[in-house]
């Protein structure tokens, strides 16, 4: 099957996918280091989930709308969101689209059809359903992807969104990145049933993929994406992709986790995917090394450069609550930073 893909002209796509994985890992590691150095406030590492995300997003198009969650930086990079846009949000500086209002990891890039991430988990899922409804009603092209973690399957919003998408037969891909944990709670204690199987309770197809392998994810999700794109209704995809680090930079996983997937080990999705691609003749070890090196240089220079951008101006605190500030906000701005 893999050879088939290559023959069908997917080689380019595979290389770009792998490149994005490497870029994302490099950026992730850079941010984690910067956070330890006190240069960044917070981060939820994305390592371990690159192959799952990019394996799926290789099927996506510009017009597709993505309600990503806080670990989907790799998918954003793969879909062409410029590194600057992401790093500025990590710093929360004056060039940040969100004007430094969100904790890092809560990314957005409206121009690239990446919606905004709230902290309350899974609460974007009903929005994704509404957006899909609008898309169909307005006869716009494009499907909607809504991603979330395994823990998020317990939430009210998951249930609401799954049922509504099914009832209205909407073009939504529910993409569960099952990294085995919700902070400290293992998935087995979250729910007794495998998440992909829950699709049946709502009347939609569900599948399980090996989210540690970009090629496997890509191949297995193809049919699902086509199903949704052809208007047949929503689907649920569960990708298994073990978390490789702490839940966030505030978390100490040693309390609850012994078996962490090590970077560079043969359970690391970068290693797994690279091996597959080398076997398939899509890349060579040399090309892979070159990609890693280029990423490293690129990220390091970008990251250091953008750190110099100043924080948002005090006025921004009072903007965007409403289209026009109310007298209340004007008054409060006056009290806090003086009237302008």
């Amino acid at each position: 099957m893999s050879e088939e893909i290559v023959e069908h002209g997917d080689k380019e796509r595979m290389i770009r996918g792998f490149g994005a994985m490497v870029l994302a890992r490099t950026l992730n590691n850079k941010i984690m280091t910067a956070q330890r150095q006190g240069r960044v406030g917070f981060f939820t590492p994305t390592s371990g989930q690159e192959a799952a995300q990019i394996g799926l997003s290789m099927h996506l198009r510009k017009e597709d709308i993505i309600y990503q969650y806080y670990r989907d930086m790799p998918m954003m990079l793969h879909m062409g969101v410029p590194v600057d846009i992401i790093i500025n949000q990590i710093y929360g500086n004056s060039m940040d689209i969100a004007k430094g209002r969100q904790m890092p990891s809560h990314l957005l890039a409206r121009d690239y059809n990446f919606m905004s991430v709230p902290s309350p988990v899974a609460t974007n899922l009903p929005l994704a359903v509404g957006t899909a409804y609008a898309n169909r009603y307005l006869k716009k092209d494009g499907i909607v992807v809504a991603s979330f973690g395994d823990g998020s399957s317990s939430t009210p919003d998951f249930h609401a969104a799954m049922n509504l998408a099914a009832v209205y037969n909407l073009p939504v891909i529910f993409f569960c990145e099952n990294n085995g944990l919700a902070i400290s709670l293992p998935t087995e204690k979250q729910t007794k049933v495998e998440i992909w199987k829950k699709a049946e309770a709502y009347g939609m197809p569900g599948i399980l993929v090996n989210g540690s392998d970009m090629v496997d994810t890509y191949e297995k999700t193809r049919e699902m994406v086509e199903y949704v794109r052809s208007g047949k209704g929503p689907v649920l995809i569960e990708a298994r992709c073990p978390r490789m680090g702490p839940h966030s930079t505030s978390d100490d996983p040693t309390k609850y986790l012994t078996d962490i997937v090590k970077e560079g080990s043969d359970r690391d999705p970068l290693i797994i995917s690279q091996k597959r691609l080398v076997e398939m003749g899509v890349i060579t070890e040399q090309i892979a090394s070159k990609i890693r090196e280029d990423s490293q240089n690129f990220i390091t220079s970008k990251f250091d450069e953008l750190e110099k951008i100043p924080p948002p101006s005090p006025e921004t605190l009072f903007e965007d609550v409403y289209e026009e500030p109310t007298w209340i906000i004007d008054e409060e701005r006056g009290e806090i930073i003086g009237r302008n």
Binding site: I65, D96, I97, A98, K99, R101, Q102, H106, L108, R110, M115, S116, P118, S119, P120, T123, N124, L125, P126, L127, A128, V129, G130, T131, A132, Y133, A134, N135, Y137, L138, K140, P156, D157, H159, A160, A161, N163, L164, V167, E319, D320, V321, Y322, E323, T326, W327, I328, I329
Partner: protein, 317 residues
């Protein structure tokens, strides 16, 4: 008021095909209060959507629709049930513009009936406006008559910000009045002076407006009666102007006293105009107890309580 709301929705849907209604029993059934009667038959099931029983889904879908080009008007069947969707309102609807740096907006109008007067007991009678007014990012509107209902609903639909449109269900079937067929607006954020006087300012809104007016007329009170119409943002200037003029203020609402709108109005006046006051600022409100069934009439502020508060401030030395 039901008819006025129904006709306004009809008119607006006719003008703008991006307006979508969604909620429980709003289609075939026409809504439990008949506000959406006939609209599904006229505009189709795609535009007047009968939803499953999940308020957070209704609100969440509406937010997602509005982010992508539509103008949804979700209905929550009773305001009492909105708390199951409260996270969507507080953390998504109210904060989307802010957290996206203004790149994503959520223009929608969430309609819901509130307040007592139909013997609905604990869960079909609540007046929860404070929960929304305390939440920045939302506008909160409530009409007190059919004319205002149309003008305020139209303005709410013009708004680029999410509006919580609270319909005093007690007035759904009362207060018949002429409502012009043509399009008009009542601007958000502007109160209306319904009665003018120099001795006392009575500030109220929504379902209490008729009772206040009746008290004033029946007792020939020399009172300003201010109908807020928009609860967030309130009409600061009108409130302060009236308070400064009369120096005596009574606030009337059905919601419980503690942190009801009266608290904010009182605080606003005493931080801006305390030197103009001759008397304490009094509140006539529902008590801080859940809404009852059989003793509903005791719960709701009435003329005698309003009058007694007015007399207290008038006689205060």
């Amino acid at each position: 008021m039901v008819q006025s709301l129904n006709r306004t929705l009809d008119m607006k849907m006719g003008e703008d095909s991006n307006i979508i209604l969604l909620g429980e029993d709003i289609g075939k059934d026409g809504g439990v209060f008949r506000v959406t009667e006939g609209l599904q038959a006229k505009y189709g099931e795609d535009r007047v959507i009968d939803t499953p029983l999940v308020e957070l889904g209704i609100v969440g879908m509406a937010i997602g629709m509005s982010m992508n080009g539509l103008k949804p008007i979700p209905e929550i069947q009773f305001q009492d049930f909105i708390f199951t969707a409260f996270d969507q309102i507080v953390n998504q609807m109210a904060k989307m513009r802010y957290r996206s740096g203004g790149t994503i907006t959520v223009p929608l109008v969430l309609r819901t009936p509130y307040g007592g007067g139909i013997r609905g007991g604990l869960y079909h009678s609540q007046s929860g406006e404070s929960y929304f007014v305390h939440t920045s990012g939302l506008k909160v509107v409530t009409p007190s008559n059919p004319y205002d209902a149309k003008g305020l609903l139209s303005s709410s639909l013009d708004s680029k910000d999410p509006v919580i449109f609270l319909e005093p269900k007690r007035l759904y079937r009362s207060g018949k009045m002429e409502v012009p067929d043509e399009d008009y607006r009542i601007p958000l954020g502007k109160a209306k002076l319904l009665h003018e006087g120099d001795s006392v300012s009575i500030i109220t809104y929504g379902s209490m407006v008729p009772a206040v007016l009746k008290t004033v007329t029946d007792n020939s009170l020399d009172a300003d009666v201010l109908d807020l119409r928009t609860l967030s943002p309130m009409d600061r200037d009108s409130i302060i102007a009236s308070a400064r003029k009369t120096g005596r203020v009574v606030i009337v609402h059905e919601a419980p006293r503690t942190l009801g709108m009266g608290a904010e109005i009182s605080a606003l006046i005493s931080e801006s105009s305390i030197e103009y006051l001759y008397a304490p600022i009094l509140r006539v409100t529902g008590p801080d107890v859940p809404f009852p069934y059989r003793l509903e009439d005791l719960y709701l502020p009435n003329s005698s309580r309003i009058l007694s508060a007015v007399n207290r401030v008038l006689q205060f030395r």
